[in-house]
Homo-oligomer: 156 residues x 2
Amino acid sequence: MGDREFLERAVALAAEHSADGDCGPFGAVLVKDGRIIAEGWNRVVSGQDPTAHAEVTAIRAACEALDTHELKGCTLYSSCEPCPMCFSAAVWARVDRIVYAETREGAARAGFDDDRLYRALQDCEPGRLVRMEHLPLASATRVFDRWLENDERIDY
Amino acid sequence: MGDREFLERAVALAAEHSADGDCGPFGAVLVKDGRIIAEGWNRVVSGQDPTAHAEVTAIRAACEALDTHELKGCTLYSSCEPCPMCFSAAVWARVDRIVYAETREGAARAGFDDDRLYRALQDCEPGRLVRMEHLPLASATRVFDRWLENDERIDY
């Protein structure tokens, strides 16, 4: 199987699970060494979890399958360009590559605000989408100091 | 309790759970109507889940506690400025407000790449962090068409 086939599988998951209207129209698969190791689809409404986008659920399932918190050597195939949450999750997961079919503009046409989120981040204006307040606390800085002093810490 | 007390609780969670070195030094709480409804802390390594940042785990727990996929009327308190994944998760969850103590620069000092992610998104250069490939598929566009045609769909 090649890129096109893996991406078609992600699209098939989107089609299958969104047919009833209670899962958003998004699917994703994670591939390592030419094999699908995990599949995901949008479960925001059905699973009552706003973070359960297709890519995030696929990343979680892949980490469980591989017994690790890192997905080096994996490619994420998504039926649609990942939103900033999913893109960031893929970066944190250290995937090698992301391949996607539909775009953020397509998602906007289907009623999903991904582009609005991208624009707020691009313009460094997160406050346009949600009120943000910075309240510095010495205790919070001490937590980081202690982390750096701790030789037992597991960096990731 | 006011902002400062709720934020100190988020910091206390960060301190408590990172003391052993296997949970990252981040904590968060979600508050509605003056009461803490959920708490979260970083479980990336301990839970083998790269998406298990403090804010994401708190958002998931709050949705479970309130039996909903939306957190309108809630404030998210985080020991540190949310990374783009957590910020986006908070936007998707429709929280009213985010209050944070440490900053992305503080996180960088402690060894966490949040600022690098913010900069890639700001510069519209996601490819700097992970290889991105767009492979348009007619099947993916059809999934969105069918979604829009489906009167049973639950918009969110």
